[in-house]
């Protein structure tokens, strides 16, 4: 079973040289730490920055320089600032190659729910609805089952949707799966996890073809 770092490391392997990438809050943010060395990747922060760098050194925090999670950050050489309309303009016009975000539920046709739990205080969707409606490639980092052991990979999302038929790939603590017209296609198992365990943890349609390899994580 993967921990959060493991999920982030596995997702980092999906990043290609030359990609512009938007990272959501939570596990997706950790992905930045595992982008393979020597790869040229530009991180987009939807509050208005291309070329996001690591957190600043202590004492060098700048209140004018934050990421979409409102954390203090730095820039890398070659970065650019812009306003919020242009930021979502580059997302909507598919200039951003890959979007990585978290989810509470995903359905086997790629619907995603990650912004609202009925009965709980609704904080808002932020940029999530814009991102999922437009991104050309969306990878979701999520837990396969909730605390009660119930699957979060469903035939139909129960929570209010953030977007429809948009997720392409999912990385959970148990598996890597693609979304296909026939449902979730199992690609890889987490270390020590059996196909049977993944089957039991997946409520939506699951396609298992041939031998399913175990993930390789450095």
């Amino acid at each position: 079973m993967l921990d959060k770092i493991g999920i982030a490391k596995r997702i980092a392997k999906e990043i290609r040289n030359g990609y512009y990438v938007n990272l959501g809050i939570g596990i997706p943010t950790l992905v930045a730490n595992y982008i393979p060395k020597g790869m040229s990747v530009v991180l987009q922060s939807e509050n208005g920055l291309l070329g996001m760098g690591p957190f600043p050194f202590e004492g060098e925090e700048n209140p004018d320089l934050i990421n979409a999670g409102k954390q203090t950050i730095t820039t890398v050489p070659g970065s650019a600032f812009f306003d919020s309309a242009m930021s979502f303009g580059m997302i909507r016009s598919r200039k951003v190659d890959l979007t990585i975000l978290g989810a509470m539920e995903v359905s086997d046709n790629g619907d995603i729910a990650n912004w609202k739990i009925p009965g709980k205080m609704v904080k808002g969707m932020g940029g999530a609805m814009d991102l999922v409606a437009s991104a050309k490639n969306i990878i979701v980092a999520m837990q396969h089952v909730n605390k009660a052991g119930e699957s979060k990979l469903l035939t139909k999302c129960e929570l209010p949707l953030t977007g429809v038929a948009c997720v392409k790939k999912i990385v959970t603590e148990l598996a890597v799966l693609d979304i296909t017209p026939e449902g979730f296609r199992l690609l890889e198992r987490a270390p020590g996890i059996s196909v049977e365990q993944i089957k039991n943890a997946t409520q939506g349609r699951l396609i298992i073809e041939g031998e399913i390899p175990e993930m390789v994580i450095d």
């Binding site: 920055l49 934050i66 409102k70 919020s84 909507r92 969707m125 999530a128 409606a133 949707l161």
Partner: protein, 236 residues
């Protein structure tokens, strides 16, 4: 064309109860601190505030919430604010949540004189309910878009890094965010700046918001520029 006013009090002098205000900023970054303080002091009530966030309990728009001055909040994300939550749950406060890109583009549309935009954000979700939609061919495939209207705000209140007395504005780093969009969108736009300079001191090539959009400008004072999430790494 000198648009300078003395201070925040003078800039907001004709903001009255039940008006609709746009307030720039993302989180606490790039918010018009001086004008918010002046609005609290003036005590105007029943405000509709269009802003990406609602501040925190004791800073930003949170200060207006504490004094029960906000009737309706139009925002994309309103976490980090206990008083907001209390007023929302008690029914005192009305909230309209809007996807962040839609919020930004509805400001932009107002500034560009366009009555509406089409966006794919929210198609198939509950925010599409009751909205007109239209299908367009994009990249060879049919895709559905929601029609969203340009905002109509009485005042836009923005914060810039530098500005000149003619209202030309320059923003700094990610404090730019919604500010230039809202600056273009208000019937009356107020800009508070960290440094007010004379015409000619700003390079015309570096202006983010041309002064034509700005009606009043003043040199702000005592900026706190509070950091919401202080994240650092250690020097090895």
């Amino acid at each position: 064309m000198n648009k300078t006013v003395a201070n925040a009090e003078e800039a907001i002098r004709d903001i009255t109860d039940n008006m609709t205000l746009m307030l720039g900023g993302f989180g606490l970054c790039g918010i018009p601190e001086n004008c918010i303080t002046a609005l609290v002091k003036k005590g105007v009530k029943g405000l509709t505030c269009i802003a990406n966030n609602a501040g925190v309990d004791d800073f930003g728009i949170g200060l207006l919430l504490q004094q029960h001055q906000v009737k309706k909040m139009i925002a994309s994300y309103v976490g980090e604010n206990a008083e907001f939550e209390r007023q929302l749950l008690s029914g005192e406060l009305e909230v309209e949540l809007i996807p962040q890109g839609t919020l930004a583009t509805r400001c932009m549309a107002a500034g560009y004189g366009m009555p509406a935009i089409f966006t794919p954000a929210g198609v198939g979700t509950e925010i599409a309910i009751g909205k007109e939609s239209r299908k367009f061919i994009v990249d060879g495939a049919e895709k559905e878009f929601l029609m969203e209207y340009a905002f109509d705000a009485d005042f836009a209140i923005v914060k810039a890094w530098k500005g000149d007395t003619q209202g030309n504005l320059v923003f700094r780093e990610t404090a730019r965010n919604f500010n230039p969009l809202m600056a273009m969108a208000g019937k009356i736009t107020i800009a508070e700046v960290e440094e007010l300079v004379q015409p000619g001191e700003l390079n015309p090539d570096h202006i983010h918001t041309p002064g034509i959009y700005v009606h009043r400008i003043f040199q702000g004072v005592d900026y706190e520029k509070r950091i919401e999430q202080r994240t650092v790494r250690k020097k090895n």
